[in-house]
């Protein structure tokens, strides 16, 4: 039986993977070729999707991008035995884009059948949990702390310290909450994990529960990800059926239960306290801190809230040890970052690399430069609240501190490239507009300031007293930076002012006043 892989990843499906899978099945039947069709996650080489793979004795061979019209020709060429065809890409693992990655968190994505627990176990799944079950809670927390893992959701707070606080806060009920709101433009690594290896997230959350003494977990998933919901629920169901979740995890006497809850299209609900309000059934108004969620979180109880990638990195840390993970990276940025390449690039996709790789390597060695063939003018890193970087900053290594020194952020690892046709004053206007649309409304600098910001930038763009308006924009940005309650209002000035500072000509002013 020949194994053929066609991704079930929603981006691949958005390019026709479902139709290709059906066509392959139909063609195989017609030709009486016995195949086993496996719907894997995406390898993350999105310019090649739908990427079809065939298992051969030498390893898996890739073909792509495949359309339904290509399917009969692929069979004519004997692709199921690795035959020669114009779409053939050779051994998947030898494709340089993939070969030059360090896939720790994404070790299984694209390789396994995401909803098969058997496949997960066959590829080192649940080894971290099994080790954790032999350890004291505090020892699990210290393993995570020693790994140097910092939150991948944006704020880069050390995960071990957060867990230690929850462990040391006594309460009859504690919670693990996974932040799967992934609202940042240019990011899709959470989605790829949830669709492509949901068990790794389930395992990470279970380990978190053991570590801090929490018996219940929620995954707060944005409703724009319906396929992730299906995959997560399938994983939760089979983990529960096989005793990896529930009242008595693998006979340990420890309990952990998990439920997926859907968001409803509010960007601010990715902010952790807004998310907790939303989970409680309320409007997503940001809470004042303190109290920290680690002390008074969901329903007033001590709560670990972590991003998908943070939690999905925990199993390999427990399996291979803190030192193994910590060995990757630079400075205080330890481990790997799943970088998401998007926007105007020839080769957009998922690149997991140790911290320290430069933006230029990412954009050109992996991204292949702009898709339009025109020079890349600006890159927004870290989502809608991240700064725009000009060409002169492309040699910056991906490292939290190196980015902070440039008044920029890595955030959730999204990299969005724009070619020279972009008008940066328009992007600045969009930054303010987005803040106005998504503001929770709790504080004035954000609620009123963002709307004022749009008006001011409109005047600048219309050439009305540009210099005076630019000064007003700076004042307004200072106010938002200094006195917003959360980073939505507090960081919107990053994209706005970085656009202005690096590209004043797009605002009709001569130098950055």
């Amino acid at each position: 039986m020949i194994k053929i892989f066609v991704p079930r990843d929603s981006s691949a499906i958005g390019l026709g993977a479902e139709e290709v899978a059906l066509a392959i099945q139909a063609e195989a039947k017609k030709r009486q070729v016995a195949i086993e069709l496996i719907r894997n996650g995406s390898r993350g080489l999105y310019w090649l999707e739908p990427l079809v793979e065939v298992a051969t004795p030498e390893g898996r061979i890739a073909f792509g991008p495949v359309t339904i019209a290509d399917v009969p020709g692929l069979f004519d060429a004997g692709f199921q035995k690795g035959g020669v065809h114009p779409l053939a890409l050779g051994l998947t693992e030898e494709i340089p884009y993939l070969k030059r990655q360090e896939r720790l968190t994404f070790a299984r994505v694209g390789i396994t059948d995401p909803v098969s627990l058997e496949d997960y176990l066959a590829h080192d799944g649940y080894r971290g949990l099994k080790r954790a079950l032999t350890m004291a809670p505090a020892a699990i927390v210290e393993e995570v702390a020693d790994s140097g893992l910092r939150g991948r959701g944006g704020a880069a707070f050390p995960t071990g310290i957060k867990w230690r606080t929850v462990l040391n806060t006594s309460s009859a009920q504690k919670y693990i909450v996974c932040n799967a709101d992934e609202g940042d433009s240019g990011t899709f690594s959470d989605r790829m994990i949830m669709e492509g290896d949901p068990f790794v997230l389930v395992e990470g959350m279970t380990i978190a529960g053991l570590a801090v003494g929490a018996t219940e977990g929620f995954i707060y998933l944005r409703c724009e990800y319906p396929d992730a919901e299906v995959a997560l629920n399938a994983a939760i169901d089979s983990a529960t059926a096989q005793g990896y979740l529930g009242g008595d995890i693998l006979g340990s006497g420890k309990a952990f239960r998990l439920e997926v809850r859907l968001g409803a299209g509010a960007y601010v609900c990715g902010e952790e306290t807004s998310l907790l309000e939303s989970l409680e059934g309320k409007r997503g108004l940001v809470r004042f801190k303190p109290p920290l969620p680690a002390i008074e979180g969901l329903f007033g109880q001590p709560t670990v809230i972590n991003n998908v990638i943070s939690l999905a990195s925990v199993p390999i840390i427990l399996d291979k040890g803190a030192a193994f993970y910590k060995d990757y990276g630079m400075g205080r940025s330890r481990g790997t970052l799943p970088i998401q390449l998007a926007g105007n690039l020839k080769q957009p996709g998922l690149v997991e690399r140790a911290f320290g790789v430069t933006l230029r390597e990412i954009l050109y060695d992996y991204g292949g430069g702009s898709k339009s063939g025109r020079p890349i003018k600006a890159v927004q890193v870290g989502g809608p609240l991240g700064a725009y970087l000009p060409e002169s900053q492309f040699d910056t290594p991906l490292d939290y501190e190196a980015f902070a020194a440039l008044w920029a952020v890595l955030g959730h690892g999204g990299v969005v490239a724009f070619d020279e046709s972009v008008d940066m004053s328009k992007m600045a206007r969009y930054g303010m507009e987005f803040c106005a649309i998504e503001s929770c409304g709790k504080c004035t600098p954000c609620r009123i300031g963002s709307t004022r910001g749009v008006e001011i930038i409109d005047k600048i763009r219309a050439g009305e007293e540009a210099e005076r308006q630019v000064a007003l924009l700076r004042d307004l940005s200072d106010t938002m930076l200094a006195s917003s309650l959360c980073a939505l209002g507090g960081m919107t000035p990053y994209p706005v002012l970085s656009a202005l500072n690096h590209f004043p000509e797009d605002f009709g002013v001569t130098s950055a006043q």
Binding site: G14, G186, T187, C223, E224, R261, G263, A264, F434
Partner: protein
């Protein structure tokens, strides 16, 4: 807009099934919108009563979230991504094309009742921009021609 007649029995059934969940309001609103396509104004007092909330609180939650709607949508909802990665690949032109070819603006339904147009801010499909979502299915690298094809098959779908 006047409130429509709605299936209050179905709504009551949904509320009864979900109301004991902790933080039940969002799951209930999702279930109602999944079943009816929107959250009818008339369901607000039913929800408020069963969850021991004021009507204003329930209404406040419905209006806070962009996804929940209080008016019936068309048979299919088309979401167009307006966020940065899609802008870098020409989503603004796609938005303009969609509005003019469908003859409607955001939050409106086509006169034949087939399609509702909504903006969305990132679909996690940013490596295949520009992106749209039709009901629950994402489409990538959407050119105007592809948009027309997708709309044709959407209109002919039930």
């Amino acid at each position: 807009m006047n409130d429509q007649a709605f299936d209050s029995e179905r709504v009551s059934g949904i509320i009864a099934e979900l109301k004991t969940k902790p933080g039940a309001l969002l799951p209930i609103l999702h279930a109602i919108q999944d079943a009816l396509g929107y959250v009818p104004q008339g369901s607000v007092p039913l929800i408020a009563h069963e969850l021991n909330l004021s009507r204003a609180e329930v209404h406040g939650v419905i209006s806070f979230y962009h996804y929940f709607r209080s008016t019936p949508p068309g048979r299919h909802t088309v979401y167009i991504c307006r966020a940065e990665a899609c802008q870098a690949m020409g989503s603004e032109a796609l938005e303009a094309y969609a509005k003019s070819s469908l003859g409607i603006d955001y939050h409106e339904n086509t006169p034949d009742g087939a399609i509702t147009l909504e903006p969305v801010y990132c679909l996690g499909n940013c490596a295949c921009s520009p992106s749209i979502m039709v009901d629950k299915k994402v489409h990538g690298r959407v050119s105007p021609e592809r948009f027309d094809d997708i709309m044709d098959s959407t209109r002919s779908a039930p």
